[in-house]
């Protein structure tokens, strides 16, 4: 037995990556990426590479860098499970897997799931070319031939690429002998095909593994139909069986038998916690309230309006938040729906009076975790906005305009006489596409119609209209209705991607700036009556266990009370300085540095690993490095068709770069000019590869290089184009305005920041009269058990502590301010903004302050951030001891920029590891000498 026997397949692959290096994972073939409409996200790529690795090893790929690992089962058909969180893009992976198997010659695909609404969605994703969410490229090219994947009810005997999209129930029934029909494949016919079976929401298929029963039960259940009658049928031996079964689910049932069944099949495991920690979800907040039914509705509508306002203000395009009102019964839901429309129809500004009178006393944040308790904060922000009376009129207009009969739906048709909800397929389609700009739906009334397979990016609020607890739970077991509600909340965590400055479109942007008004666009709110019942603790417990909530703590930084009390004059009259910025037109010739036109590129996957290794052998295999050659080429030397193909596949933040963008950037008429008449013609690539010259390099490798190089370069150009330039006009702002509201941010402490030494530094700065802000855990109001900064900052604080006695001999007052990313300066030349980490105020006499900008820097960043050090030097020359003085509130200021603070240890690391070939050694005295000059 090997030590890896108890690990999941995905963990074994991780181990293999650790041992042999990432290069064992194949690159995603162009034949697949070119056939997909969008690029995969990094986590999807990771999952797909695991899959390709497994299949390549299994099929005995010719790629000699693949190790022959024991855990790949070569003597039976592929059966894998993608266990990935809701909203992480399982259907995209499914599409990529389909393409992979199409390349290998598979022609018949069977998609199965347990719910009809998932069928519609899948058809839109995989078949409907006109649909916004269609995942394939408009023209599928398989092995250089144009092909089509057709949806069929029954597989033909042709070589056409066909997909059946079925519920497991209907497939199971179709295969019963009593139901055999002429136009439906018999089991015999299915067994004659090499099938790729894609099972979605696959946790529903575990009937046998969950509760093994009698032979008759097994014979008659769905799992048996799929697994034993279709996939591993007895017509041929397992070695000869070429079928593939790929399962997809977010939730594998936590039963021993089921977990054991999947242990050697989980090819990729992406729990929600990891997905959330990667910043790819909204953050969940639960707000409990004691409001009337009408007030509940209005409160949610106010949140909706506020999000809309914020998005408009910041130019977030096509932002259309949706609210869901949930009820236990169809009758109650219908009555809520009617009541809602009545409320909206008769709405006046007076209806919102309850907001200003007693809302703060009627709402409460559920204690879910520090990043999940923002109900009160957001409500205050909204109330502040509504203080302007004209806003209330606007709010009423907005609600009447956007929440009328056309845009408010109920998931139950008027003529439905059944006990369960029923809707038209047209409404189902609309509900699956709430993000579509033309989709009018803004509010949904539902009971339990919307559960699995319904992933919506713009669902922002759910209001639980019931007031009581859910029945059916026990002290140890959560009530089923509560589990359903928690799962419904899970539907809403999907992130709504939006562009903001240079941030990643698909990731949360404000974890470090929780009070930013835009943060509400990455928060989901669940509103519920029921303040202190078991219901709330149950739902909170469930969400915590599943990784939906809770996480690193939030710290709050504010001025120390003692500092304010003792230094009122400075606190009220002191200032901080920022330089003004000017916008400028982009000039490709002037604004792109010579240096930016030279790009270094190392072609990867050059390592070859020796063959067959078992994981019971602990020795690592020897690596053999292939010889590499340097070469240099200009982009203009590459064949035009490769350049244009590369241009077409460049993809930024979820969007392809369109020609209109190139046209505006470079002022050109057509795409051919881009490589002849623009700065791109001067782009030079220094390449390191196993090819002596480009002539020996396959075109697909050249394409890969050119695409990467172009993407890197154009990203830089876009940044430069959007940049302003910093000027030498410095203006001041009041120091006391800096923390009018305390700075709050999520802080993930490292192990090192919790060490005794780190804690001792924290105690020092918390107690020091020269350190003017305090850091507190936001909820607990206590000192954190970690130092909230880098090792370099810690060392710097100790340095200042050691210097304080000398400083106090020379200066009347010494104040150190940690700049919590609030004071931003702009580089003169490039306009890049940066925030010096610390500002040291040294008061020389009644009139004069030295305002010292200090940036502690880790060794690995010294060269990358050298432009900041240069800027600090320029500021020092212009406004330092011998430069011009600045004046504010009867004080004179000298702005002094110092070299980077680098600790003694880091200096050694820099000189030995990070220094460039022609660079001189850096010395600790660089900073120390400059600092000591201040004492003279």
């Amino acid at each position: 037995m090997s030590f890896m026997d108890n690990q999941k397949l995905s963990e074994k692959i991780d181990k293999a990556k650790e041992w042999f290096g990432e290069s064992i994972l194949p690159e995603i073939p162009e034949a697949i990426s070119n056939n997909l409409k969008h690029n995969m996200w990094p986590l999807q790529e990771e999952a797909f590479k695991n899959f390709l690795f497994y299949e390549n090893v299994k099929e005995g790929s010719s790629n000699e860098s693949l190790p022959n690992v024991e855990f790949v089962k070569k003597d039976e058909p592929t059966h894998l499970m993608f266990n990935m969180a809701t909203g992480s893009g399982k259907t995209m992976l499914m599409a990529a897997c389909i393409l992979h198997y199409m390349q290998l010659g598979y022609r018949k695909f069977l998609f199965i799931t347990n719910q009809t609404n998932i069928l519609d969605k899948t058809e839109e994703n995989l078949i409907n070319k006109l649909h916004q969410k269609y995942l394939f490229d408009d023209q599928l090219m398989i092995n250089s031939e144009r092909v089509e994947l057709k949806k069929v009810d029954s597989f033909s005997k042709t070589k056409n690429f066909e997909i059946r999209i079925e519920t497991i129930q209907s497939l199971h029934l179709d295969l019963q002998e009593s139901n055999q029909r002429e136009n439906i494949n018999s089991l015999q016919e299915l067994n004659d095909l090499d099938l790729v079976i894609l099972a979605d929401e696959a946790h529903h298929f575990n009937v046998m593994a969950k509760s093994p029963k009698s032979e008759k039960d097994i014979e008659e259940n769905w799992e048996n139909t799929i697994l034993n009658k279709i996939f591993r049928h007895s017509k041929i031996s397992l070695e000869e069986n070429k079928n593939k079964l790929l399962e997809f689910t977010a939730t594998i049932p936590e039963k021993k038998n089921v977990l054991e069944k999947y242990q050697d099949k989980i090819i990729y495991d992406l729990p929600l916690k990891k997905f959330r920690e990667a910043g790819l979800t909204k953050e969940i907040n639960i707000v409990t309230f004691t409001l009337s039914q009408k007030e509940k509705i209005l409160y949610a509508l106010v949140f909706n309006w506020y999000r809309h306002k914020v998005a408009l203000k910041h130019g977030i395009k096509n932002f259309k938040p949706v609210i869901l009102f949930r009820r236990k019964t169809i009758e109650e839901s219908r009555s809520d729906y009617d009541e809602f429309l009545k409320i909206v129809k008769n709405l006046t500004i007076d209806d919102f009076n309850f907001l200003s009178t007693d809302i703060p006393n009627k709402i409460q944040d559920a204690n879910l975790g520090q990043s999940n308790n923002f109900g009160h904060t957001r409500t205050s922000q909204i109330l502040e906005e509504l203080e302007d009376p004209s806003m209330r009129n606007e709010l009423v207009d907005f609600i009447k305009e956007n929440f009328n009969e056309k845009s408010v739906v109920i998931t139950n048709s008027k003529d439905n006489k059944k006990k369960s909800e029923s809707i038209t397929s047209d409404l189902q389609k609309q509900l699956n596409n709430l993000e579509d700009p033309r989709n009018l739906i803004r509010a949904i009334f539902t009971v339990q119609r919307l559960t699995e397979g319904w992933d919506v990016q713009n669902l922002y609020d759910i209001v639980r209209m019931d007031q009581g607890v859910n029945e059916g739970g026990t002290n140890t077991k959560v009530a089923p209705a509560t589990v359903q509600e928690a799962q419904l909340i899970g539907r809403a965590v999907r992130y709504f991607p939006f562009k903001y400055e240079f941030s990643d479109t698909h990731k949360r942007k404000f974890d470090q700036d929780l009070d930013n008004e835009l943060r509400i666009l990455e928060e989901f709110f669940y509103f519920t009556y029921d303040v202190k019942s078991r219901y709330l603790s149950e739902i909170s417990k469930y969400l915590r266990e599943k990784g939906y909530v809770d996480g690193p703590p939030i710290i709050r930084v504010e001025f120390k009370d003692k500092f304010i009390q003792k230094n009122k004059k400075f606190y009220n009259n002191g200032v901080y300085w920022i330089n003004e910025v000017l916008s400028k037109d982009f000039d490709q010739q002037q604004d792109i540095d010579e240096q930016d036109l030279k790009i270094e590129y190392k072609l990867q996957a050059l390592e070859i690993v020796e063959q067959y290794v078992t994981f019971s052998e602990l020795d690592r295999p020897e690596r053999v490095k292939e010889k590499t050659y340097p070469s240099t080429f200009k982009l203009s030397e590459i064949e035009p068709h490769i350049l244009h193909k590369a241009l077409n596949q460049i993809y930024f933040d979820g969007d392809y770069m369109s020609f209109s963008k190139f046209k505006d950037l470079f002022n050109i008429e057509n795409s051919y000019e881009i490589f002849s008449n623009t700065v791109l013609s001067k782009l030079t690539v220094s390449l390191e590869s196993q090819y002596q010259t480009l002539d020996y390099m396959p075109n697909k490798e050249i394409l890969r290089i050119v695409t990467d190089v172009l993407k890197e370069f154009l990203q830089k150009v876009i940044e430069v184009e959007m940049r302003n330039i910093g000027t030498d006009i410095f203006i001041h702002e009041s120091l006391n305005s800096l923390h009018t509201t305390p700075k709050r941010k999520i802080y993930k402490p490292s192990q090192e920041s919790k060490s005794l030494e780190a804690m001792s530094v924290l105690t020092t700065i918390q107690n020091a009269d020269w350190y003017i802000t305090s850091t507190i855990l936001d909820e607990e109001n206590t000192t954190p058990n970690f130092f909230p900064g880098t090792d370099e900052e810690r060392d710097f604080c100790l340095y200042i502590e050691s210097m304080v006695p000398s400083l106090k001999e020379v200066f009347k007052n010494v104040f150190l301010l940690r700049n919590e990313e609030k004071i931003k300066l702009y580089n003169y030349q490039s306009g890049i903004g940066f925030q010096p980490d610390y500002i040291l105020y040294l008061q020389k006499n009644e009139k004069l302050f030295y305002y010292v900008l200090i940036e502690p820097k880790g060794p690995q960043l010294i060269n990358t951030d050298s432009f900041k050090e240069l800027f600090l030097e320029q500021v020092n020359n212009a406004f330092g001891m011998n430069g011009e003085s600045l004046h504010a509130n009867n004080f004179e200021y000298k702005i002094i920029g110092l070299p980077f603070y680098v600790s003694k240890n880091s200096i050694n690391v820099f000189n030995s590891k990070h220094k460039l070939p022609n660079q001189e050694d850096r010395s600790y005295e660089n900073f120390d000498n400059a600092f000591r000059e201040l004492l003279k």
Binding site: L312, K317, N318, K320, D397, E401, P437, S658, S660
Partner: protein, 61 residues
């Protein structure tokens, strides 16, 4: 009437090739001069969104 075509030159209401409806409605709600001029200068949209009251035209979009 093809409203998208009429509004195609107003960069403020386009997200690449997709019309930004919330922004369009906001501009209409605030009687944005540029938007109203565009709609007024097209025969079809003028007919749809304006009503003549005496000597003047009133926007009722």
């Amino acid at each position: 009437m093809n409203l998208e075509k009429i509004l195609q030159n107003d960069k403020r209401i386009w997200d690449e090739e997709i019309l930004d409806y919330p922004q369009l409605f906001e501009l209409a709600r605030t009687y944005d001069k540029e938007l109203l001029e565009t709609l007024f200068n097209n025969k079809e949209s003028k007919k749809k969104f304006f009503i003549q009251v005496g000597d003047s035209n009133e926007f009722y979009g």
